[in-house]
């Protein structure tokens, strides 16, 4: 399927477990982003990547790890899940940040619950 996909769509895990959320895009966009969305906070950037093997921290990176070995994939790992990481996670991609046609396309989201 063309576009940006995330898996799993729903995940329940326990405190202390490692969890990996997957993000895949078919457009070959250079830029990819991970956000978390919590009630009352809007969208907050966790990590972003300008290209394969180039990643940088966003506003709330603690407790998360990313990698980007291929342009189309941008997995997000919670090394040791905590209850405060219960949230909805959105992946997004963009081709031309800063340009007039700049658009971030969002995936459908992963709802993560940490018990």
């Amino acid at each position: 399927d063309a576009g940006i996909t995330q898996s799993p769509r729903y995940k329940i895990t326990e405190t202390g477990r490692q969890v990996t959320l997957m993000c895949h895009q078919t457009w070959s966009h250079s830029y990819m982003f991970w956000y978390r969305q919590d009630l009352g906070h809007g969208l907050r950037l966790i990590y972003y990547s300008a290209a394969a093997d180039i990643t940088d921290k966003g506003e709330v990176p603690d407790g998360y790890v990313v990698s980007r070995s291929k342009t189309e994939n941008f997995p997000l790992t919670l090394e040791s899940a905590t209850r405060s990481q219960t949230s909805v996670y959105f992946c997004a991609s963009s081709e031309n940040p800063g340009a007039e046609e700049d658009t971030q396309y969002f995936g459908p989201g992963t709802r993560l619950t940490v018990l």
Binding site: E100, Y105, F106, G107, P108
Partner: protein, 111 residues
């Protein structure tokens, strides 16, 4: 860090107009507007770049005052389909593409 959106919530009847404001304490390179329906992903509406004051379609448009570091989204003759949460995302230009999102404005349109 986050831009401030106002109002937090708006309730309208079909056909009425609404304005949503987005204000930043930092200089801005661009402002992005998104709409999100409940349980769905945010969907891009438009981008306003530094130097471009206003753009949009006839019923949904936006303005950007870079001196005041403010943007406004205008929804005219609202339709039921306009219901959702509207977010502004601000790009300061230091790292292009890195957006800081406001907390959102919940818009409800009633028939």
């Amino acid at each position: 860090q986050q831009p401030v959106q106002s109002p937090q919530a708006v309730i309208l009847r079909e056909g009425e107009d609404a304005v949503i404001n987005c204000s930043s304490s930092k200089a801005l390179y661009s402002v992005h507007w998104y709409r999100q329906k409940h349980g769905e992903a945010p969907v891009f509406l438009m981008i306003l770049l530094k130097g471009g004051e206003q753009k949009g379609h006839e019923k949904i448009s936006a303005s950007f005052n870079e001196k005041k570091q403010q943007s406004s989204l205008y929804l005219t003759a609202s339709q039921l389909s306009y219901s959702g949460t509207y977010f502004c995302g601000t790009d300061r230009g230091s790292t292009l593409g890195r957006l800081y999102f406001g907390r959102g404005t919940q818009l409800t349109v009633w028939p």
